[in-house]
C-alpha cells in the first residue's frame, strides 16, 4: 500500500509518497511509526498532500505543526489539498497590509491558545 507521512501530531494533512487515484487506500504513518488506513477520494500526485481531517473554509491548514495557509473551500478527509483549496496568508497583493496583519495575528492567537 502507498505510504503517506503525518510529520507532526498537530497536522491535518499528510504527504503522499506515490501517485494515487480516487478509490485507492494509503497507509498514513506518523513520526513514531504508528499508522492508519485512509481512502483517497481524488487523484493525488507524488509528494502532494491529502487531508486527514475535515476542514471548513478559513480553517488553518497545518503541516510540520505550523500553519501553511487557510482552507479556501470545504475539504473532506481523503481529498487532495493544494492550490485549488488552500491559500497563503503571506505576500497577499490582493489584500491590503492590515488584512494580512490581522490574518497573521489571529492565527498566532489560535496557535498559542
Amino acid at each position: 500500500m502507498v505510504k503517506a507521512i503525518k510529520l507532526n501530531d498537530k497536522d491535518n494533512v499528510a504527504s503522499v509518497f506515490d501517485t494515487v487515484v480516487a478509490g485507492d487506500f494509503v497507509q498514513v504513518i506518523d513520526k513514531r511509526g504508528h499508522s492508519f488506513e485512509l481512502k483517497i477520494l481524488q487523484d493525488i500526485p507524488y509528494g502532494h498532500k491529502v487531508a486527514i481531517a475535515e476542514l471548513s473554509v478559513g480553517d488553518q491548514v497545518t503541516k510540520y505543526g505550523e500553519e501553511i495557509g487557510i482552507a479556501s473551500a470545504v475539504i473532506h478527509v481523503g481529498e487532495h489539498v493544494h492550490i485549488q483549496n488552500i491559500e497563503s496568508i503571506r505576500g497577499r497583493g490582493d489584500w491590503d497590509k492590515s488584512a494580512e496583519d490581522q490574518a497573521t495575528a489571529s492565527l498566532h492567537k489560535e496557535v498559542r491558545s
Partner: protein, 391 residues
C-alpha cells in the same frame, strides 16, 4: 533501566572546545598562494588546505571578513595546528591573523612567499614547517566528553520533494535532541526564511531576537532587489507547485523544519560564533560553499547535510554527513550518501528510527569514524561569503 547519556570522543583544546578531528590547517591569506598550499597538502599527512579565492583588491569591510573568517577557521576545535601561507602584499591583515591565532595556544607557524624567495622555496619551507606542526600534535589523543561540548551545523542542498518530508525532518529530530542534551546547533540559509518569518519569530527567545530575524531577511531581500531581482515574487515556483508545495509558507517551512522546534537563542553574523548553547541562526546565503564555510567559522565540529537530488559537497576541516531523502537517489549515489532517509518514504522506517540512526552515526563520526565524503577526500567545497565588489 539506567540510560547512559550520549557522549563522543574528541580532542580537548586549551579553550575547552572539543575537536572531532585533529588537522593541521594550511591557511592561504590570499588566493595568490593557493598553489603553495596545495603542494604542501599533497606532500604531507593530517593537513587540510583552506583553499579560498579572496584576500586582495576588495573593499575594507570584505578584507576584514576574510581576516575574521581565517581566524575563526584556525580557532575551530577540529584544527590542532595552523600554518599560515602569505604572499606579502595581500589585503588581509596577516599580522593580526597570526597574532590572534597564537593566543589559542595551538602550534602556529607562517611562511611568506615574497620573503623566502618564491613559490618553490615557500613550498619547501612550508613542508618543513608543516612537518614540525604535524609531529607536534599527532600524539594528541581523544577524550570522552558529553554533548554540551558539541556544536553541529546544518544545511540542505540539491533539494527535491523528499527533502521537506523526509531528510529535513530527520535533521530537525537530531537538532532537537542535541539541544535537549545541552549542545549547540547552528542553522542558516536566510533566503529560505522568506515567507515563514512570522512562524520562525514565534520561536525567538525574545523580542530582540525576533526583530533580528526580520532584519536579516529584509537585508537579504534588499541585496537581491539591488540587482533587480524580487525573491519573494513568484514563490512558490511553478516547479514547486507541480511538486506539491501549495504556499510560500509551506516551501519555507520545509527548509526550516531541519532546525527542529527549539527556542532560537540569537542571530549571529557570518563571521561570528554562538555565544551560548542551544539553537542559533547564522545570517548566511544558501549556496553550499559559503554556507559550509560559515558553519566552520561558527565553530561547527560536524555538519549534517540534507539532500534529495544528491549534493556531494564536503568541507576541509569539518566532517559532512549526507542525509538523503530520496530512495532512488540513495540507490544511485550510495557512495556519497551516508543515511537513507528515503526508507521513511517507503514506510520501511519511521522518522524517529532514521533520526536515531542519524544521531548514532553523528556520535561515531564525531569520535573518528569517517563519513563517506571524507573517505574519498571530497572536501574542497568552500569559499567565504563576500558582500562587496572586487575592485
Amino acid at each position: 533501566m539506567k540510560t547512559e547519556k550520549p557522549t563522543f570522543w574528541g580532542y580537548v583544546r586549551k579553550d575547552g572546545s572539543v575537536g572531532t578531528r585533529n588537522y593541521v590547517a594550511i591557511l592561504p591569506s590570499v588566493v595568490c598562494v593557493n598553489e603553495v598550499v596545495e603542494a604542501i597538502v599533497a606532500n604531507t599527512v593530517m593537513t587540510q588546505g583552506i583553499i579560498h579565492h579572496q584576500g586582495c583588491c576588495q573593499t575594507p569591510p570584505d578584507l576584514e571578513r576574510v581576516t575574521e573568517c581565517l581566524i575563526k577557521i584556525g580557532e575551530n576545535p577540529n584544527v590542532g595546528a595552523v600554518l599560515i601561507v602569505s604572499l606579502g602584499c595581500e589585503g588581509v591583515d596577516t599580522d593580526r591573523l597570526e597574532a590572534t591565532l597564537r593566543k589559542t595556544g595551538k602550534p602556529i607557524d607562517r611562511v611568506n612567499v615574497q620573503e623566502v624567495g618564491g613559490t618553490s622555496e615557500a613550498i619547501k619551507q612550508g613542508m618543513d614547517k608543516a612537518q614540525n606542526l604535524i609531529r607536534a600534535i599527532a600524539g594528541e589523543h581523544r577524550v570522552e566528553v558529553d554533548m554540551t561540548h558539541f556544536v553541529m551545523g546544518i544545511k540542505c542542498g540539491a533539494s527535491d520533494t523528499t527533502s521537506g518530508i523526509a531528510s529535513n525532518p530527520v535533521i530537525g529530530y537530531v537538532a532537537d535532541k542535541i539541544v535537549d542534551l545541552g549542545g549547540t546547533v547552528i542553522f542558516g540559509e536566510t533566503t529560505e526564511f522568506i515567507g515563514a518569518e512570522h512562524i520562525l519569530k514565534r520561536r525567538a527567545k525574545d523580542a530582540h531576537v525576533a526583530s533580528e530575524i526580520d532584519r536579516i531577511v529584509i537585508e537579504m531581500e534588499n541585496r537581491a532587489k539591488a540587482s533587480g531581482v524580487d525573491m519573494r515574487k513568484g514563490q512558490p515556483t511553478p516547479g514547486n507547485i507541480k511538486g506539491g508545495l501549495s504556499t510560500i509558507e509551506e516551501k519555507s517551512l520545509g527548509a526550516i523544519v531541519k532546525s527542529g522546534t527549539k527556542t532560537i537563542q540569537g542571530v549571529i553574523g557570518y563571521t561570528e560564533a554562538p555565544t551560548g548553547k542551544g539553537l542559533w541562526i547564522k545570517d548566511s546565503p544558501g549556496r553550499e560553499i559559503e554556507l559550509l564555510s560559515g558553519m566552520a567559522v561558527g565553530g561547527a565540529q560536524v555538519i549534517l547535510f540534507s539532500t534529495g537530488r544528491g549534493a556531494p559537497q564536503g568541507f576541509p576541516v569539518v566532517p559532512v554527513i549526507k542525509i538523503c531523502g530520496n530512495p532512488l537517489t540513495y540507490a544511485r549515489m550510495d557512495k556519497d550518501m551516508d543515511v537513507n532517509a528515503g526508507l521513511i518514504t517507503t514506510g520501511e522506517r519511521s522518522l524517529e528510527e532514521v533520526g536515531e540512526e542519524t544521531f548514532n552515526l553523528l556520535l561515531r563520526v564525531a569520535s573518528g569514524e569517517v563519513s563517506k565524503g571524507e573517505a574519498i577526500k571530497y572536501s574542497k567545497s568552500m569559499d567565504f561569503y563576500m558582500l562587496g565588489p572586487v575592485i
